[in-house]
């Protein structure tokens, strides 16, 4: 079984209007799926519906082969980890405490961290290259370091599915490449699947294996190989002109 997420026919409402119309989201093990689409298309809503943060009117969501409607939230947290937009921490915890939060759902609430937890935290810190930053408060980190610290927390949970909402927004180009590379490596090295909302078309087309185009609450899955024949659809949905970049992938070059 390689299907991590099998969500089909999702309908969801937000503030009285339909934000998801028969939307599907399929994710396989080792896959890096980009969710692309214009602002307000329903990308975040799609993620939130799968995460059960947004109730669905109809549809079926299976996570790692299990129907989520019968699954306790506590149980679901073993499979899914979520990194929302903006990397918000209301208090400037240190990096290690933040990463350790990824282990909380493994235990009864007041249990102490065990050896396996410390191992997982250590591994996660190493994977994102923040070992030297473990005692640093989050408030002293740069945007890129913060993004990596939040990925480490998700990794420490050892969840097989990582749901990320705009991981590279507000990062400089160097950190954008770094974070995208990190997410791609995670997919290939750790048997996990990553779903990421992305606005950076050039990064999505260079790093991701498949694209879920969301438009007005509806979804269309585009495989990496099928990309060239779907360029027209992407141009129409975004109202832009895209061009093949010399280093691979596509980038917006003007209005349509």
């Amino acid at each position: 079984m390689t299907g991590l997420i099998h969500a089909t026919g999702l309908h969801a409402e937000l503030g009285g209007s339909l934000v998801l119309k028969n939307a599907d989201l399929l994710l396989d093990q080792g896959q890096f799926l980009a969710v692309i689409g214009p602002n307000g298309a329903g990308k975040s809503s799609l993620l939130r519906a799968v995460l059960r943060l947004l109730p669905i009117q109809s549809g079926r969501i299976e996570i790692c082969g299990q129907d989520v409607s019968g699954l306790a939230p506590q149980k679901l947290s073993h499979f899914l980890s979520y990194i929302p937009q903006g990397h918000i921490a209301h208090w400037p915890l240190d990096v290690e405490t933040l990463v350790a939060l990824g282990r909380r759902q493994k235990h009864h609430v007041f249990e102490k961290l065990r050896d396996e937890d410390h191992d997982a935290i250590e591994k996660a810190l190493r994977a994102v290259g923040l070992q030297a930053f473990r005692k640093r408060p989050l408030s002293t980190l740069s945007g890129g370091e913060k993004a990596r610290a939040f990925i480490a927390r998700a990794l420490a949970s050892q969840a097989r599915i990582l749901m990320v909402d705009e991981p590279v927004a507000a990062l400089d180009p160097r950190h954008q490449l770094q974070v995208m590379g990190l997410l791609k490596d995670l997919c290939s090295d750790h048997d996990i699947g990553v779903v990421s909302v992305l606005h950076e078309l050039h990064l999505a087309t260079r790093y991701c294996d498949a694209f879920l185009l969301v438009n007005e609450g509806m979804t269309q899955l585009i495989g990496y190989g099928e990309l060239p024949s779907n360029v027209d659809t992407i141009e129409r949905v975004f109202g832009i002109k895209v061009q093949n970049l010399p280093q691979g992938g596509y980038g917006a070059v003007g209005f349509r």
């Binding site: 943060l53 679901l76 915890l93």
Partner: protein
């Protein structure tokens, strides 16, 4: 956690020393041997027994319980609302307890038995807690909870002013106003026994919310995906604060600023962790009230200073200093 052991031990030692000092200092200073002879004496006419057991001990125990409650509840509410300006007053419980006490004085219940004032205050706090839970049940957002709290706070404050406004009896009037200022004077062990169960149960609720408060650092969505039951956490914090702060106001009146400033002082010492903040905030709250009360007894003022006035006088400027300092640091 191991790294908090030193901090907590230090605070507990400080509390112990402060307790002893507080028992020794007052209108009649007594030394350590007199203190212990008074503490363990069984003779009714022993002056040291009267000073220690009848006068100072109930007052000091009340102070420790009230301070601990306010510190703990302030820390928990700031964690839940993720707002460093939250304090037990913000959810309206203190003002409602104050209203209950004022009504007890206004309608002469206080004249029947002194027990009615704290009992009515507790009733006011419980009603406010129930109203909060019912009103916040449908909408889960933190902002709604704060706004409902502010509304209830204003309503209870207005009704309290109304009671004072209509009061015909100057004695009752002065009693109401003085009661609202907050004080530990003339506390008996009966008051302590009335408040204690509510404080213990409420405190246990707040500690139970600790792990969820830590995950809430990353926002409600992440906490929920991580398996936190948001509704339960909110209930634990509201009911926990309602019961314990209600009991604190019932026995000591309005003692402001403790719940607001104590978590701010402690936060840097526990790595800004909302869960690790709870215990040291409780002990520090007790310390703050204990020392404010020692100050009340030491300062040679003509009328005795009210405890709530002192905590506000220390708390206000100190809070401003903290805001300027920490906001610069957190940026």
């Amino acid at each position: 956690m191991k790294r908090d052991l030193e901090l907590n031990t230090l605070l507990l030692l400080l509390l112990l020393v402060s307790l002893l000092l507080s028992l020794m200092i007052g209108q009649a200073d007594i030394n350590l041997s007199q203190l212990f002879s008074g503490l363990f004496s069984g003779r009714d006419d022993d002056p040291y027994r009267i000073i220690v057991q009848d006068i100072r001990l109930p007052r000091i125990i009340t102070g420790v319980l009230v301070g601990g409650t306010l510190g703990l509840s302030g820390a928990a509410l700031q964690g839940l609302l993720r707002n460093p300006l939250a304090d037990p007053g913000v959810i309206g419980v203190s003002a409602s307890a104050g209203l209950g006490a004022v009504l007890a004085i206004q309608y002469g219940l206080a004249a029947l038995s002194a027990f009615f004032v704290p009992a009515m205050a507790m009733l006011g706090a419980c009603l406010c807690t129930i109203a909060l839970v019912l009103l916040a049940r449908r909408d889960s957002s933190v902002l709604t909870l704060i706004l409902i709290g502010v509304g209830l706070n204003a309503l209870a404050g207005a009704l309290t002013s109304l009671a004072i406004n209509f009061s015909q009896n100057p004695f009752a009037l002065s009693e109401m106003v003085l009661w609202l200022l907050g004080a530990l004077t003339n506390r008996s062990l009966t008051d302590v026994l009335l408040a204690l169960p509510f404080m213990v149960i409420g405190g246990a609720f707040l500690f139970a919310a600790g792990p969820a408060l830590r995950l809430l650092t990353l926002g409600e969505d992440v906490a929920q995906v991580s398996g936190v039951n948001l509704k339960l956490t909110r209930l634990l914090c509201i009911i926990g604060s309602g019961l314990s702060v209600g009991a604190a106001v019932a026995v000591a009146g309005m003692v402001g600023f403790v719940g607001l400033i104590v978590p701010h002082i402690i936060r840097p010492w526990v790595g800004f962790d909302p869960q690790r903040l709870l215990f040291p905030s409780m002990i520090s709250g007790a310390l703050l009230v204990l020392w404010a009360d020692i100050l009340v007894r030491l300062l040679p003022t003509t009328a005795e200073l009210k405890l709530g006035v002192v905590t506000a006088l220390i708390g206000g400027p100190f809070f401003l200093y903290l805001v300027v300092k920490t906001r610069r640091g957190m940026r």
